[in-house]
């Protein structure tokens, strides 16, 4: 499950041991395509990584804070510190490897 970020509130993300934030928008094709992939990964990595969805139109401040210039953008954080990020659609196997490398 991806938890939706509301009102630019990143408190929970910052408190999480390992968090993945997916910056997306309803009008973005690649975002729609990667959504089910992230959904599956959130189940696979349950208990290890907390997954969040962040609609950039609803959370403009959060998007600005992360310097989002292209979506989808997936940011991996450990205790609120940005560890790595990926931009654009990626096949599931690639994302899986990336997440494992960063655990």
């Amino acid at each position: 499950m991806l938890k939706e970020i509301l009102n630019d509130n990143l408190d929970e993300v910052n408190a999480s041991e390992v968090a993945l934030v997916d910056f997306n928008a309803t009008w973005c094709g690649p975002c729609k395509m990667i959504a089910p992939v992230l959904q599956e990964l959130s189940e696979e990595f349950a208990g290890q990584i907390d997954f969040y969805g962040c609609d950039v139109d609803e959370n403009q401040l959060a998007a600005q804070q992360f310097g989002v210039m292209s979506i989808p953008m997936m940011v991996l954080l450990k205790k609120g510190q940005r560890v790595d990020q990926k931009i654009g659609f990626m096949p599931k196997a690639f994302l899986e490897t990336w997440l494992r490398q960063n655990l």
Binding site: G29, P30, S70, I71, M73, K92
Partner: protein
Amino acid sequence: MGRYEIAIIGTGPAGLEAAITATVRNKKVLLLGSRESSLKVSKAHKIANYLGLPEIAGADLAAAYLKHIDAMGIQITEDKINAIYSMGDYFVLQGNENVMYEADAVILATGVVAGKPFPGEDENLGRGVSYCATCDAALYRGKSAVVIGYAPKEEPEAEFLAEIADKVTYLAMYPEETSFTRENVEVLRVKPLSIVRDGRMKLVTDQGEIESDGVFVLREAISPKQLVPGLATDGPHVTVDLQMKTNLPGCFACGDIAGTPYQYIKAAGQGNVAALSAVSYLDMKKRSGGK
């Protein structure tokens, strides 16, 4: 519309031969491209080394291709594919106007794309360089952008971006007059040389530097890496093995996009191999219990 077994992108010799072979093997095929086949074929004056057809004119060969396709009842869907997503078990192909097609396997036969990326383009993709103004426009509220447009049909994209951004600098890379209605679009006729990220984005041209928050490059042709996210490439070519397999399971490539030599008969031969590899991939998937 249902899921196809094999989607083939491109209607040159590689794509057409792949479609014929896959149809012979009774697969549900989606063939995407232009009915005009490949201009590289039809514009060729004479082809000297095509087995069995000595000194054939390119136009005659192209006509023979279409006759063959029609005789087998293979339809050509005239749509342009802008992105192919590997979903794990299947592929989603995004056509113009966001039409989505689904297929179990994909064969890339689009031909080779001329034109190299600018220095700094690949490295900054998604960090200030974008290929889709309508996709990323909303992120440019109150900001400025440079758009490099290679055809007049890109102008509406730049105009759309200008509705949201404060300022758009449009580099027209073609001789035709531009027709923008918004006043915050400035048209320049300069030659871009490289893209540099230095806090903001800097586009270096033959007549000085243009600073902005982002650079949009709107080219006619899409590079294979951009077409299929995750695809392994080598310069302008897709990396394949002798079975025409790419690094993505279920995705195959053939013809010019798979590398040199750029020869008609080699393209057709590779199309045949790619289709047969796709068929065995589908059979294997079926046997292993997938649907």
